[in-house]
Assembly symmetry: none
Homo-oligomer: 222 residues x 2
DNA sequence: ATTATTTGTCAAAGATTTGTCACTTATTAA
DNA sequence: TTAATAAGTGACAAATCTTTGACAAATAAT
């Protein structure tokens, strides 16, 4: 289990560290104090979860979140201070998983961490993994089939990432739209289908892994 | 599901009502037009969620929010007038769950309602359960018999789901129709039978779990 | 500024599910 | 035992949903 704590208040940072360490005995925990360092580490590592303060020196937690989401769906729990501005407030639109308002009880944070991890595939996310005929590296945002890299664009990667984190689980069209496109999307009903079509095409032989669940959505499964 | 709409503009209030009613068919919805009445109702009822306008005659939405928070954590979605960032910040400090700026699309409001409810939903449906020769996972919408997954379609799953939640209990035809088809269903008498037939077929050896209760309905039992 | 790539829209075609119906079979009260 | 009512069934039709290609719009790259 690997966590990243992004919190400029070093006392708070330490408190979170202690609680996490206590709950996940063997966890690896990185502590950083600003957004730039957070992103650096994020791109070099694969975390199971990120605890992210909104108010940071330099780039904001909001921006960190945005950049993380460009890459993948690493679970993010946002810690919001009392006087946040509008953008930060709308973290949910960016695909964060939980919001905890300061001043928070560390216990509550831990509870949310556990809840979020339970929702996700909790196995270690780092390195190359195999699923059926596919290989993928979540940290590097790469997918391979027959030793060839599939060149996925942003939307396709987001879709794939969502699927891989929810193997065997039926995802409703709404869920997919919300996770990949965000709450504010009210576009054409058929857009999702089109993107599924494109991802399937790139998946080639393995396109059948994306199963249509009639009237509900899709499911990713061998 | 029980909602409270607090909005002094009666047109807007009605629009919200309609959309909620449409999305949560069986919801109970109270409509009020000022803060005082809202609080009265709040203290007499338990709501799943409150839609709260900021600008109200008499006491403001904020005051309502404050008083609600002194009692409990009922989810609150606030509706604020345009470009009212200050208020948003205040709202989040008071522990509201989402903010929607006017003029808002009712669809967005509904999406936020769904998201908030999902966030609060603590029912644990995960994990494989066993019933007789069947295994099922409510979260994943899956049923297995002899290690093989039964490929149920939407209606069949709804039926199965209803049965599994009412093991050993006789469900009248009316109840089933209402729960699976919704209150407004006035279709053919034989439709339910047909669907039971189809579900039984897929259940194979375990089809006898669905027992006919003559003149009344069905019962799901080993 | 031009070109390439990605993303979104749409309508027609293809699939699946769901509803209907006529008819058969089962149940039960008298 | 039978008449009356209820439930089951297969075949078909209707409704609904998904796929797909072609194209347009938006965005990124050169």
């Amino acid at each position: 289990m690997k966590f990243l704590i992004v919190e400029d208040d070093s006392d708070l940072n330490d408190i979170l560290y202690d609680y996490l360490k206590d709950t996940f005995k063997e966890a690896l925990i990185n502590q950083v104090y600003d957004g730039e360092t957070a992103l650096e580490l994020f791109h070099e590592n694969t975390y199971d979860l990120i605890l992210l303060d909104v108010m940071l020196p330099g780039i904001s937690g909001f921006d960190v979140c945005k950049e993380v989401r460009e890459s993948n769906n690493t679970p993010i729990i946002m810690l919001s201070a009392l006087s946040d501005d509008e953008n930060q407030i709308r973290g949910y639109d960016l695909g964060i998983d939980e919001f905890v308002k300061k001043p928070y009880s560390p216990k509550l944070v831990i509870k949310k961490v556990e809840a979020v991890l339970q929702r996700y595939d909790t196995t270690d996310n780092s390195g190359l993994k195999v699923y059926g005929l596919l290989k993928y590296d979540l940290a590097k945002c790469k997918v391979y089939r027959d030793f060839k890299e599939l060149d996925l664009n942003n939307k396709e990667w987001k879709l794939f990432n969502l699927f891989i984190h929810n193997k065997g689980i039926v995802l409703s069209r709404d869920t997919i739209l919300n996770k990949v496109w965000g709450y504010e999307y009210f576009g054409d009903e058929r857009t999702l289908d089109t993107h599924i079509k494109r991802l399937r095409k790139k998946l080639g032989d393995t396109s059948s892994y994306i199963k249509t669940v009639y009237r509900i959505g899709y499911k990713f499964e061998k």
